[in-house]
Symmetry: C2
Subunit: 144 residues, 2 copies
Amino acid sequence: MISDRVTQMVARLKAVNLRLTPQRLAILRILADSEGHPSIEEIYRRMKPDFPTMSPATVYKTLTLLKALGEVLELGFPDGVNRYDGSKPYPHPHVICLKCKKIMDLEMGNLQPWIEAAARETGFRILQHRLDFFGLCPECRAKE
Amino acid sequence: MISDRVTQMVARLKAVNLRLTPQRLAILRILADSEGHPSIEEIYRRMKPDFPTMSPATVYKTLTLLKALGEVLELGFPDGVNRYDGSKPYPHPHVICLKCKKIMDLEMGNLQPWIEAAARETGFRILQHRLDFFGLCPECRAKE
DNA sequence: CTTCATGCAAAACATTTGCAGCTGG
DNA sequence: CCAGCTGCAAATGTTTTGCATGAAG
């Protein structure tokens, strides 16, 4: 499953004639991990042991590139720390723990009717959306 | 309508023994304006003519305070420019133009069933949510 | 009066950019 | 080879913080 997604992204890079460097491969592997919704800093930190010369700038550049290709979903937050989902790079709902910042995907209902209603009501052409639920995860609730 | 909301926020400040300065009042008036979802920079810019000595730090401090009181809704974006809604400080859906950054409120369906489904599926205690649609507004579509 | 708010400047972060040197294909 | 990538450092932009002065209650 996981490696399928890496393979997909690798193919995409090749398709547009971009290079597959060891650094990029490592980033793709981290992003493809469905459980993680890593921040730039976390990707950097996880790579550092294997790539001692690694620089955060390379992570930023690669993520900018993957965003442009539509191969990663960027989740911005008011505190300025963005998180990334490379496993499902299309809009989908998340639950986010306000305490430990864990992010989980949700498998649930279709938003299509709402998208159409929003378009009808406002005259917008809707291209993207974002639905997130914020709260306390079971672990953090237990620690209360 | 608009002044009702300002009155509400003023009352809230008094209730917790915070001071009502001319600067704060001006910020509240801007925030209460339903049409605007201003950024910090815009609030600052709109106040500057009337408050020549105004500093952006004061806007930041006041917004931090209002956030803590739950009197303003903060909308974060990946590009780092946050926007604020003081007219309806509770979660509600928005449509956002990707080109001109206009933000409009949406009057539409109830998310309650989804909140319950998310809680059931994940074990989270859901406290907040955010639903935004991104696209092109009628004006920007016309300019294409 | 006393406490809290303002506003300046400096600091703290996240992110972007410039550029020399390196390397994948 | 050589276009494109890496990685360092400097620049940028937003937000936070420290602190002396000023004003609300």
